[in-house]
Symmetry: C2
Subunit: 299 residues, 2 copies
């Protein structure tokens, strides 16, 4: 499999595991699509299903999941803590290997048109696939949630969907579809009980306060372990990689005479992120994924 | 394929490509063994075939290659610059993934016994598979080469093979079989025309002169590019990885007011070497290969 796309559709169902499993099952007959992970939360009443695989089969698989969710979830009865506008709430496509962001944007549009046509659900494009700047951020697209959007979509031309009717689907609401980069969850643990120190260092590294591009960071106390943590999302590892923030945090900690305990990559990373790290750490720009022995067997 | 072993048999044939291709073809019907690379040299009159794959099929594949080389190469007529004792000269097994060094040693012994029994060729075990310290180094095992060993194997009890007769095979000579770690070829280029500087820095990093464990290093002038190079073999990346030597060379170059141009990983590296580099560079000892997204698809 030379082209790999990831897709993490979010569904407004976190209390009926049998429904979530039926939605996931809709993807399972596609041989080149793999369900990597399923998680759900009762309070949020929401689930996330992580899929990876071949771009062509991915479109078919995700369409069938959306169709299943449309049949089984009724937004008129949905309650939960997490913001949402639809039974299938958000569908991001993420390029992993052999596929560009542009191709993921095209996938978003193809799926959006298909869903609008076949299921009569209004679709908003977001993030890299957004058609206007006011729709880049998910929070803006979801403003007012299902209940608020129900009236606004009809009355406010600013809320007209990118595809489909200017009217929520009677049970499935609306869907946000788009493309974004892979997000690496990365934490650095500091040998201190003073959460203020983690918060100060988080400020030094995050983009918002003049730190590294595409880095979000917060300082936390990890009470049961007795230390503090700089918790980050690296939203574009080509712009800022783990080694760069690690080095900076180490430097800042040193100034404060605090030791770095260790760091943790949380969850999955694409191989491209490791190749990028090797290239930069070793000043070895020509290093290629195809130099990794296992790729010769896997390909 | 969860278990991967590499094998790089060396054959005393570098002038008849049709013979080398026949030897490689003997491995090609094993579905879980892949021929990654073939190279040969006329002056050395010698070829290397790089195989990776499933350990069980690897033994069968390599045995058949040895049998083919035995049939097609006559050491009585062989001439070449490179030291050698047999038609199949050296067979190293290298653990890549899901297989230990001990298992590679057992593979060496299984193959050695098999070759001795079926083909009546004397077999010496070397490197990690060596049965005595005097046979760890390949150069010691090959002392006197085919011509010298022909008499010595009969007369000198120190040269008695580990398996098979104390008498060279009439056309195939003897074979050295063993297990070793994966060797990473890694070069750091320095912005200087003074080869002495590269030689001095090479001395600082190599094990022989008190540098890093399992590192061999030499200084070279790369004339056509107008710079000098510290050229290394990292013989055990778990002991010393690329980032460690790169950092040291950068430090030493700085002392001499020389800039590091870049570094180059030459050829292939096992994924485990990148995982190890990430663990050490980021102080992230819990980082695992299974966190790499692609492994979920490939596995």
């Amino acid at each position: 499999m030379d082209k790999i796309v990831e897709c993490v559709p979010n569904f407004s169902e976190g209390r009926r595991p049998e429904v979530i499993k039926k939605i996931a099952a809709a993807a399972s007959r596609f041989k080149k699509v793999k369900v990597l992970d399923m998680e759900w939360d009762r309070d949020h009443n929401r689930s996330l299903i992580t899929l990876v695989g071949d771009p062509k089969q991915m479109l078919d698989a995700v369409f069938r999941m959306i169709r299943t969710a449309t049949r089984l979830i009724d937004m008129e009865k949905h309650q939960g803590e997490h913001p949402r506008i639809g039974a299938t709430d958000v569908v991001p496509f993420i390029p992993i290997s052999g596929i560009t962001m542009d191709q993921c944007i095209r996938m978003s549009k193809t799926l959006g048109r298909w869903v609008a046509r076949e299921l009569k659900i209004p679709v908003y494009l977001y993030e890299a696939a957004a058609t206007r700047s006011s729709r880049v951020n998910l929070a803006d697209v979801r403003k007012g949630q299902y209940e608020g959007l129900k009236e606004e979509i009809k009355a406010n031309p600013q809320r007209k969907p990118d595809f489909g009717p200017s009217k929520l689907h009677s049970t499935a609401g609306a869907i946000v579809i788009g493309a974004r980069k892979f997000l690496i969850a990365y934490n650095v643990n500091l040998d201190s009980k003073n959460v203020q120190i983690a918060k100060e260092i988080a400020k030094k590294v995050r983009e918002k306060d003049g730190g590294f591009p595409a880095v979000k960071a917060m300082g936390f106390e990890i009470k049961d372990k007795g230390y503090v943590q700089v918790s980050m999302n690296l939203c574009d590892f080509e712009k800022t990689n783990m080694a760069e923030v690690f080095e900076k945090i180490q430097e800042e900690a040193k100034k404060k005479r605090i030791k770095v305990i260790n760091s943790e990559i949380y969850g999955l990373v694409p191989l491209a992120a490791l190749v990028d790290l090797v290239q930069k750490t070793l000043q070895s720009p020509d290093f290629k994924k195809t130099q990794i022995l296992e790729t010769k067997i896997w390909e």
